[in-house]
């Protein structure tokens, strides 16, 4: 299914280019195969590709009905997630888009509701005189009496749901009263706006993906102080930008663990400033000067030396692959060792991550989150004899439990791990968590 216009190396850039020319179904298949073959692999690349794809899906979906739009996005989302279930950002972006559509649809319905309420207000409220309680309740069932209770029940979580009125959603579709014919027609014109507003929302998500590292780095000076020794791991762009921001004002030392065997080449390149922009996104950003050009001492160490050096380290700053709702995170292999060593030495561990990496998934089964990679990076196939004798595994990720992390810095600010559930509930709708 590779498009004819695709350049030689398929990836994010070629996908985004082909998205403009290809029909939408080809693009969906294209992204699915890219995800399956791991030709798109960094969190942000996946998120960007998903956001752009969903933008095309929404704009190509010629329906004015919000529920059909939701259905369409859900079906595309399901296929994308099935293609690479461990790439949680894909699901996150799909959920946020679904949330956007629901928000817009609800705004719409609220408008309708106000109309119907205004209509029924003019009716005299006769049921009040009735003595039988159930009678008076049912008399109000279609009227405005339900409004305060139903809005209460619409709260995502509330302890009052136990005592609230039965079936609040009854009042939403069931407003066939006086106002509904007049309420319908503006509803339809607004429905066309839904799509435009959802597209605006998706554009905002795309913008957010572009700005997230800069937003996070704005907090750098609060966390990195003069003459501190910072330990970091992998060639995470977010971490590098964070450090660079602080390097503009302060002098400190960075100890960089090389994260062999999956990321060491990129890490070496980052440290020495010879990054060749293998990550497609980097090419568009002005990320040329390495830390050493700012006069920062960078010490490259093998992963095995982390524990030995930890006693001198003032702060550990880590990038991540995805963050989970319980405050734990999935990050490049080796991260847990670093976090554990930091715990032993009581060194603070700070994780920098965009909110888009925050997933509502609860890690029931840690093992299923870990992806295994190319074992030839551990032992090359030239050692053929050895490969036959032993079982070589190369896990790409580590699960780091919440208690090993002291602080998360996202584009919204710093949060304790125990507070992340709140950000999850702010960003994702409850009904979308498992769709």
């Amino acid at each position: 299914m590779s498009p004819p216009s695709a350049p030689l190396t398929p990836g994010l850039a070629s996908f985004l280019k082909s998205l403009k020319t290809n029909p939408i179904d080809t693009s969906i298949d294209n992204l699915i195969s890219l995800l399956k073959r791991r030709q798109i692999r960094h969190s942000r690349s996946c998120a960007t590709a998903t956001a752009y794809l969903l933008r095309s899906v929404v704009s190509a979906c010629r329906t004015s009905d919000a529920s059909k739009l939701i259905e369409r996005v859900q079906s595309v989302g399901k296929r994308l997630i099935a293609a690479q279930p461990r790439e949680m950002v894909v699901g996150n972006i799909v959920r946020r888009v679904l949330g956007l559509i629901r928000d817009e649809a609800e705004d719409d319905r609220d408008g309708e509701f106000n109309l119907s309420e205004a209509g029924s207000e003019s009716q005299p409220q006769t049921p009040r005189a009735s003595d039988d309680p159930s009678d008076s309740l049912y008399g109000r069932h279609d009227g405005s009496a339900l409004k305060p209770l139903s809005s209460l029940a619409a709260h995502p979580i509330s302890m009052f749901s136990l005592l609230s009125h039965p079936e609040p959603e009854h009042s939403l579709p069931g407003t066939p009263g006086s106002a509904s014919p007049s309420g319908r027609s503006p509803g339809h014109t607004q429905n066309n706006d839904i799509r435009a507003e959802v597209l605006d929302g998706i554009n905002e998500i795309i913008d957010e993906l572009g700005q997230v590292d800069d937003q996070i780095s704005a907090y750098a000076l609060d966390h990195i102080h003069s003459n501190e020794i910072i330990l970091t791991h992998t060639s995470s762009t977010t971490v590098q930008k964070f450090l660079l921001k602080a390097a503009a004002k302060r002098k400190f030392t960075v100890i960089h663990a090389e994260s062999y065997p999956n990321n060491h080449e990129a890490t070496h390149a980052t440290v020495s400033g010879t990054a060749t922009n293998d990550d497609e996104l980097l090419s568009t950003e002005s990320f040329q000067k390495p830390l050493i050009a700012h006069g920062i001492t960078v010490i490259l160490i093998p992963d095995s030396a982390v524990f030995a050096l930890m006693s001198r380290v003032n702060k550990v700053i880590l990038g991540t692959h995805s963050v989970l709702a319980n405050g734990g995170l999935v990050a490049a292999a080796g991260t847990r060792v670093i976090a554990r060593a930091a715990k032993v030495h009581q060194t603070p561990v700070v994780v920098v991550s965009g909110v888009y990496k925050l997933s509502p998934v609860y890690p029931f089964d840690f093992d299923s989150l870990i992806e295994y990679g190319d074992s030839s990076k551990v032992i090359g196939f030239e050692d053929g004899d050895l490969v036959e004798q032993i079982d070589v595994q190369n896990p790409l990720y580590d699960y780091v439990p919440a208690e090993l992390v002291d602080l998360y810095i996202t584009n919204l600010g710093g949060h304790a791990p125990s507070y992340l559930y709140r950000i999850v509930s702010d960003h994702y709708r409850k009904e979308d968590i498992s769709f």
């Binding site: 309680p133 995502p156 979580i157 136990l162 005592l163 319980n326 125990s418 709140r422």
Partner: protein, 351 residues
């Protein structure tokens, strides 16, 4: 309203909220304390002719205080009475039909006519929790649990059921049984939780029962600890039957996840700072010399022969407090929460 009718007939007698509460708890073994308290308050409103807001609130206030005083451990029930009172006040304050200018009778009618619904919802919330919690019981895992919590029982049974998901989970259960409630009239009582054990075994789940003293020994074989709670307090800790705290400590020490299953109507506005800061009287630690024992024996010579175990040495209804740092997550009907989320839920209804 079937249960309410006989009581309505003898409306001439003054309404006894404590007796009603106890009756309700006894009549339905599936009823939790907060829900029984809400029910009792609803019945109270049925009996009182009060038609003004302040009169009703005053009545509720008085009866609640009376009820709390008469029950040895009012933590669970105060969750229910608080929720009821806050619901009434919040609904009255909100602008709208039922608001200040609105019709107080409408709220009253809603509460009186829907008491069955509240009970049904409370029971349904267990199903909801079972759905959320199903993911915590993995294939091939071993779950350690204790007590007679109905929510835990329904969660484990749901996991063992074919209906709960694509297929039944194959898991083992280690059930911590505490000695039965033995009192004078009932000497053959069986330990709490044995019923759940039987139900699980009937579903083909292998269950091992161990005494409380074997928790540390057995925990190495368990993958996860799931317990119920009588009340979830403001800081995210739980008040639960005696013995839960030590399981929590041991689970923490062994690095096993410790999950609490509780309905959100059990959240209660209490902030205990430690074991001895609970707003209840329980004489678990009772220092005595031989002299004290002798005087106690002399005072009640009739009872002395009945059991060698002194009453004060055994507390069937005692509770302890498990602090939030021992709890991995709370599985509630509003989702899987971290302990710190509890205070937010409570703040939402109080302020």
């Amino acid at each position: 309203m079937a249960t309410a009718d006989p009581r309505l007939s003898k409306a001439t007698e003054p309404f006894d909220i404590v007796a009603t509460y106890n009756d309700l708890l006894r009549s339905d073994p599936d009823l939790t304390m907060p829900i029984a308290a809400i029910e009792a308050l609803v019945l109270l409103l049925t009996h009182s002719p009060s038609s003004t807001i302040s009169e009703t609130l005053d009545l509720l206030e008085k009866s609640t205080t009376h009820l709390k005083k008469s029950i040895p451990n009012p933590i669970g029930l105060s969750a229910g009475t608080d929720l009821f009172q806050r619901y009434l006040i919040t609904t009255l304050q909100r602008p709208g039909q039922l608001g200040p200018a609105g019709d107080f009778n409408a709220i009253r009618a809603h509460l009186l006519s829907n008491s069955r619904l509240f009970i049904r919802r409370a029971k349904e919330s267990r199903d909801k929790i079972a759905t959320f919690g199903r993911g915590f019981v993995r294939d091939g895992s071993t779950v350690l649990t204790n007590g007679g919590s109905r929510v835990v029982a329904s969660l484990l049974q749901r996991a063992a059921d074919e209906k709960g998901g694509p297929s039944a989970v194959r898991f083992n259960v280690i059930y911590v049984l505490s000695p039965p409630k033995r009192n004078v009239e009932n000497t053959t009582a069986e330990p709490e939780g044995l019923e759940t054990v039987r139900a699980l075994r009937a579903k083909g789940v292998p269950v091992a029962t161990i005494p409380e003293s074997a928790v540390a020994y057995s925990l190495g074989k368990a993958d996860v600890v799931i317990v119920g709670a009588e009340g979830v307090v403001e800081n995210g800790g739980i008040v639960s039957r005696m013995g839960t705290y030590q399981i929590g400590l041991l689970a923490k020490a062994m690095g096993k996840p410790f999950y609490v299953v509780a309905e959100s109507h059990k959240f209660v506005r209490v902030y205990p700072l430690g074991q001895y800061d609970l707003p209840i009287e329980q004489h678990v630690i009772d220092f005595k010399t031989q002299e004290d024992v002798d005087t106690a024996k002399q005072q009640q010579p009739a009872n002395a022969s009945s059991t060698p175990l002194n009453d004060s040495e055994f507390h069937p209804d005692a509770v302890d407090f498990t602090p939030p740092h021992l709890i991995s997550a709370l599985i509630t009907d509003s989702g899987v929460l971290t302990p710190s989320a509890v205070s937010e839920e409570l703040i939402k209804i109080w302020f």
